[in-house]
Symmetry: C2
Subunit: 298 residues, 2 copies
C-alpha cells in the first residue's frame, strides 16, 4: 500500500502528466493540460516529427521515444495510441510506472483491451477506461486543438478494479475538458453500442466507395449525399483494423442486420412495393430526428 | 412549323417563364429568374401556402393551381416536381403549351421519364432534360435560395428529339445559374451513374438508421461519423419512392454490389484477416480522395 495522498486531494497544477501518442488526440490533450497549468507534460511517441512539433509548440515539456525512468514522475498517463500498441507499451513499461499511477485512454473499443491490460497492472495502479465522442478529419499533432472535446459526450467504462476516488477524478477531468455530459457503461455494452454507432458507419462508407468503379464522367455526379455518406471512408487503416478485429463479434452481427435491411430494399424494389419503400423511409426519418434531437438535448 | 424566331436570338429579359413546383428547387429558380429580370414568372403549385409565400417574397408574378390558358404565355417551363406528377401535368396541360415552348426539369432520374414524356409533346415543343447536382436539407419555398446552383455541376441529358439551338440555350442558362461545369450523357448512362452516386447512398443511410434499435444510452455514442453517414436518411419518402422505382433496375444491381462488399468485410473479420481489412480501407481512402479531388478540380 502507498502512503501518498489520493489524487482527488491534489490540485491539477501539482500533477505530472504523460501523454502516450502525441498525435491528433494526444496533442489536443496536451493543449488542454497546458491551459490547466499542470506541473509537467511528458510526451511519448515513436514519431520524432510529432515530438519535435509538440515541443516547438509548447504542447509538451519533455519528449521521449522510450521514456523509461522518466515515466516514474507521471501521476497520470493518458493513452491515445492504437489498442495493440497500448497493450505492448504497458507490457514493456509498467515497471517504470508510479506505484499508484492513474491511467486512462481514448480507445474506441474496450472489452478485449480491458481483459488484456488489467492483469498487467500493479496492485495500486488504476486504469479508468473511457473515451470522448470526438474526433476530426486528419491525423497528427498539427491537427490537434485545445477545443477538441468541447460539447462532446464522454463515455466512461469503469471496472470492478477501479477506485471510486479515481472515477470521481475522471468525472472532474471530463468537466474540465468542456465535455457536455458523460455516461457510465459496462465494457460489453460499450462495445455493442459502438459497433453500431461508430464502426458500422465506417464499414458502410468503405463498402460504398469500393462497390463501384466510376469513370471520369461520374465525377460530375458527386453531390452532398455522396460526400457526406462516404466522408469516414477516408480512414486510418492501421488504427481501424485493430478496432474492428478487437470487436469483430459485435460488428459481424451489425453487418448481418444491415444486410437484412438491404434485402428488404431489394424486395420492395423488385415487387414495385411503393408503400413498403415509403414506410422504410418514413421510419428512418423519424428515428434519425429522434436520435439527433436527443443528442442536442443532452 | 412556327414562324417565331429561335429562343437563342431572344434576350432572357424578353422571355416568360413558368415554374411548375414552387418548392425548394422551384423557388430557387424563381429567385434566379428575378435576378435575370425575365419578362414574367408564372408559379404553379398544388400547395397554396407555397404560392402565397412565393408571391409575398416576389419570387413569382402570377400564381396558379391550374394555370390553363395562362400557360400559353410561357416561353420556357421549368419542372421541379416528382416524376409521376410531371408526367401527369404534361398529359393534362400540353394543350395549353406554346407551340414551340422549351421545357426543362430538375428530376433525378431520366430514362423512364423521357420515354413517357416525349410522345406527349407537340412537334415543335422541345424538352431538354437535365438537372443540377444541387440540393440542401429541408423542403419548401421557404428554404429556397438564389445561390442554390452556384458551383454545382449540371447534368444535361439530350435526346435525338432536341434542337441544337435549345441545347445551346440551356448551356447558356446553366452558365447564368453560376454552375461550375456541365456534362452531357445519355439517359441510360445518367440513370446508371446516379443509381450509384445518389440513390445508393440514400438507400444505405436509411438501411443503417433502421437496422438497429437503440436505447437511450446509445444517444451518448452518436458522433460525427454517424451523423454524416445518416444525414440523407432524413428523406422525402414520396419523391424518393418515385425516383427509386423508376430506376429500380440499376439500384437493385448497386445494392447487390454493396452486399458483396459487406460479405468481404464479414469474411475478413471472421477469419481475422487484418491485411484484407487494411487493403479494403486503403483502397477506399485512395478512391475517395481521387473522387473528391477530381470534383474540386473540375
Amino acid at each position: 500500500m502507498t502512503n501518498e495522498i489520493s489524487i482527488l486531494e491534489k490540485n491539477i497544477e501539482d500533477l505530472v502528466f504523460a501523454i502516450v501518442g502525441v498525435g491528433l488526440i494526444g496533442g489536443s490533450y496536451g493543449k488542454y493540460l497546458r491551459k490547466f497549468k499542470v506541473k509537467k507534460i511528458i510526451g511519448i511517441d515513436i514519431n520524432e516529427d510529432y515530438l519535435n512539433k509538440a515541443l516547438d509548440e509548447n504542447i509538451i515539456d519533455e519528449a521521449y521515444e522510450n521514456p523509461n525512468e522518466a515515466l516514474k514522475k507521471a501521476d497520470v498517463i493518458i493513452f491515445s495510441i492504437y489498442p495493440s500498441a497500448l497493450v505492448n507499451f504497458i507490457k514493456n513499461n509498467v515497471k517504470y510506472f508510479k506505484e499508484n499511477v492513474l491511467l486512462t485512454d481514448a480507445t474506441g473499443i474496450k472489452g478485449k483491451l480491458i481483459k488484456e491490460i488489467e492483469p498487467l497492472l500493479g496492485e495500486n495502479m488504476d486504469f479508468v477506461f473511457g473515451h470522448p465522442m470526438a474526433g476530426r478529419e486528419g491525423v497528427g499533432v498539427g491537427q490537434s486543438t485545445g477545443e477538441m472535446f468541447k460539447g462532446a459526450s464522454y463515455i466512461l467504462v469503469p471496472t470492478s478494479r477501479n477506485k471510486e476516488e479515481n472515477i470521481l477524478w475522471m468525472e472532474n477531468f471530463i468537466n474540465l475538458l468542456g465535455c457536455k455530459d458523460y455516461i457510465k457503461v459496462s465494457p460489453e455494452k460499450h462495445d455493442e453500442i459502438i459497433s453500431y454507432t461508430s464502426q458500422l458507419p465506417h464499414v458502410m462508407a468503405v463498402a460504398l466507395v469500393n462497390s463501384s468503379n466510376m469513370d471520369e464522367d461520374a465525377n460530375y455526379f458527386i453531390g452532398g449525399g455522396y460526400r457526406d455518406t462516404t466522408r469516414v471512408a477516408d480512414i486510418n487503416e492501421d488504427l481501424w483494423a485493430d478496432l474492428f478485429l478487437d470487436n469483430k463479434k459485435f460488428i459481424v452481427e451489425e453487418i448481418k442486420k444491415l444486410e437484412i435491411q438491404l434485402e428488404e430494399w431489394r424486395d420492395a424494389l423488385e415487387t414495385d412495393d411503393a408503400n413498403k419503400l415509403k414506410n422504410m423511409m418514413k421510419m428512418a426519418t423519424i428515428k434519425r430526428r429522434g436520435i439527433i434531437n436527443a443528442k442536442n438535448k443532452n
